[in-house]
């Protein structure tokens, strides 16, 4: 339940910061052509108000749910450790791949990415996973670099 309150609260906070930055841009007069600050200020105000409304709605629901079970109001929304690890793992892997492409080239780095990910997802046997990874990386290079002329140097 906490995530349902924390997420809109974070958005409300971001909206305040967004609106505050928008104050630094020339804004509202006709002489200034309804400047670049007008629209961001409107967006910040609307999103901020909606986010605060959502925080209030979810807080009320949370209070009610402590009093009585309300059936479908309470799906499991907490982040499991498994989800957190999967997300962080994927982010790290992509970042590492982009950095590796700069140093060791596209095919080895992409092969490593596909191999690590497929092994983590339970593809067995390992040798098959490794061979398939090399084929996938080589084919991607062949299509994008060879056929389309994309420089995969990152």
């Amino acid at each position: 339940m906490a995530a349902r309150i924390i997420f809109p609260a974070v958005i409300a906070l971001l909206a305040v910061m967004y609106g505050w930055i928008a104050q630094g841009y020339p804004s509202m007069s006709l002489e200034e052509g309804f400047g670049p600050g007008l629209f961001p200020a409107i967006i910040a105000a609307v999103v901020g108000a909606l986010a605060v409304a959502e925080v209030i709605i979810q807080s009320v629901r949370a209070t009610r749910s402590n009093e009585q079970f309300t059936g479908d109001d309470l799906p499991q929304v907490s982040i499991s450790l498994r989800e957190f690890v999967a997300t962080c793992g994927l982010v790290l892997l992509v970042v590492a791949t982009v950095i590796a492409i700069r140093h060791i080239g596209f095919i080895p780095a992409a092969s490593a990415l596909v191999f690590v990910l497929s092994t983590a997802m339970g593809v067995r046997p390992i040798w098959l996973s490794a061979a398939a990874s090399a084929v996938v990386a080589f084919t991607a290079h062949l299509i994008f670099s060879g056929l389309f002329g994309l420089v995969l140097a990152f």
Binding site: A3, R4, I11, A15, Y18, I21, A22, Y25, L30, G33, F34, G35, P36, L38, F39, P40, I43, A44, V46, V47, L50, A51, A53, E54, I57, R64, Q68, F69, T70, G71, D72, D73, P75, V77, I79, R82, T87, L90, V91, V94, V95, T97, V98, L113, V114, F115, L117, S118, A120, M121, G122, V123, V136, A137, A140, F144, F148, L150, L152, F154
Partner: protein, 519 residues
């Protein structure tokens, strides 16, 4: 007639024809594999379109769309697992029919209904779209601004979760769209004094990340899930088609009605194919005269209705995307991206200046349906094998394509980071019931909305009543207010019902009630 013929010539060009066929096959295969969706297939093919001329690029995407809508039925019938959200309702009658040893017949009905539904929506598209496009000529800055606002609100209101969350999502998209140079004065906003950010956040990497990475993360999280149930074997696909054709006499009212529902629902931004399928199933259940077999136990109309509707949705969804630049669902959002990358702007000018491309798209749509008939029906034994492929085997390749695809747009590593951030954000937004389509749509339309909104105010010398003084703009505002009131009332009544039912029963709902609601 001449533009249609020119379009047909475009559609029959060897490269366009080949890529349309590739699209249909990929759509069928990807939608048939449980866990992979049509929007994922389309977004993964998007980077390839950067290097293609417009007609082959759009032909490939429409091929995926048509093939994907039909392909979802394969796993729905043979595995009881919907290949895409639109096929959820197909499982109710498709799987029971297959379990009775009539899998061939069930698949035959599903494909036939898909082909007829798609054909119906194509005809509507060809007849109506050019007429509405002429009407869109009357739109000035105020009308366009209010139209975009109405489109965003519709998408936010019809998306999953509450409308407030949909609107917050749209607001986030608009906020991100403001990053970069202001479209009127060219002042830098939210760029943090970096040159890279001055171009703004491109919606292509955001789209790739938001549609593809959540699927990867979900698959990673449930890697060690239960194995798939056994696939029900099929004996003779062609016999199934013959049986389906024979039963057409009884099914045609249902297919025609469902096609009309699918096309209409598809034309309303944000509604989606699942709603079209469910609504047409409900109508079929209510109005059916074929009650030899109960609905939910293998009634042929229970398969024909959702499949005709979800295929008919394709043509309907193209109407607002091509004419107004407002995509109705994720797939047309990607197609809009493909159009913009090709330097084409949706609207009436598209129909006048680039008629051969628009009618080429219509022709490719028709060709996709013909190819679906050939490939879909003859290739059923192959697709039966394909649905056994675990989605996780394909995930590493999908991640690699995401990296290349986001980088390929402008050879920028920043786009890869944007794709990654968008993917993680989309995963947790879905997890907490925030729809991602409004964000994406707002990001695509944000600059247009802002430009037209501010231009209207400048033209009206700062008078905000300009939006109420112009008749068409006024109609859009009234529709917007009516929709907001209707949605708020609907959500209020739903929450009242929920609290009433919970106070009636002190015990938790039975588990099957939750499952039913989920469907």
């Amino acid at each position: 007639m001449e533009p249609l013929l020119n379009g047909l010539i475009q559609g029959l060009q060897p490269l366009t024809l080949l890529l349309t066929a590739v699209g249909v096959v990929l759509g069928l295969v990807i939608a048939a594999i449980p866990g992979l969706t049509v929007s994922l297939a389309v977004v993964l093919l998007l980077p390839f379109t950067f290097y293609l001329p417009p007609s082959p690029a759009l032909g490939m995407l429409i091929g995926v769309f048509v093939g994907g809508m039909a392909g979802g039925a394969i796993s729905a019938v043979l595995l009881n697992i919907p290949g895409n959200p639109a096929s959820i309702i197909t499982t109710r009658d498709g799987y029971p029919m297959a379990k009775k040893g009539r899998a061939d017949h069930a698949l035959g009905i599903a494909f036939l209904a898909s082909i007829l539904g798609g054909t119906f929506s194509l005809l509507v598209l060809c007849l109506i779209a050019p007429q509405i496009a002429k009407f869109a000529l009357l739109f000035g800055a105020a009308e366009q601004a209010m139209l975009v606002l109405l489109g965003l609100t519709l998408v936010a209101g019809f998306s999953e979760g509450s409308m407030i969350r949909g609107l917050i999502s749209a607001g986030l998209g608009l906020g991100i769209a403001m990053i970069g140079l202001d479209p009127i004065t060219a002042s830098a906003r939210y760029t943090f004094d970096t040159v890279e950010m001055q171009q703004g956040i491109s919606f292509i990497p955001v789209m790739i990340g938001m549609f593809a990475l959540p699927v990867v993360i979900e698959t990673m999280v449930r890697t060690r899930s239960q194995p798939l149930p056994p696939v029900i074997p099929i004996s003779n696909a062609l016999l199934g088609v013959r049986q389906a054709v024979a039963s057409l006499k009884q099914l045609w009212p249902c297919i025609f009605r469902s096609s009309a529902i699918g096309t209409t629902i598809g034309a309303v931004p944000g509604t989606g194919s699942a709603i079209a399928a469910i609504l047409s199933y409900q109508y079929a259940e209510r109005l059916s005269k074929n009650r030899d077999i109960e609905f939910g136990k293998g009634n042929p109309e229970g398969i024909a209705a959702p499949e005709a509707a979800n295929s008919a949705m394709t043509g309907g969804a193209l109407i607002p995307m091509l004419i107004l630049g407002i995509p109705g669902d994720p797939v047309t959002a990607v197609m809009l991206g493909a159009l913009l990358i090709q330097g084409l702007t949706p609207g009436y000018t598209l129909f006048s200046d680039s008629a051969e491309i628009v009618y080429g798209l219509f022709a490719s749509f028709g060709i996709s349906l013909v190819l679906l008939t050939l490939i879909g029906l003859l290739g059923v034994p192959l697709f039966v094998k394909v649905i056994r492929i675990p989605a996780r085997v394909l995930m590493p390749t999908i991640v690699l394509l995401c990296i290349i695809g986001s980088y390929a747009l402008q050879n920028s590593v920043l786009d890869v980071w944007v794709m990654l951030a968008a993917g993680v954000l989309a995963y947790y937004m879905r997890r907490w019931d925030y729809p991602v389509l409004p964000l994406l749509l707002a990001l695509i339309l944000g600059k247009i909305f802002e430009t037209q909104f501010r231009m209207s105010l400048i033209i009206a010398l700062g008078d905000p009543l300009i939006f109420f003084k112009k008749p068409i703009s006024m109609v859009f505002v009234l529709l917007l207010v009516a929709f907001l009131v209707w949605t708020i009332r609907r959500e209020f009544l739903t929450s009242q019902d929920a609290s009433w039912s919970s106070s009636e029963s002190s015990s938790p709902l039975p588990s099957n009630a939750h499952e039913e609601k989920g469907k």
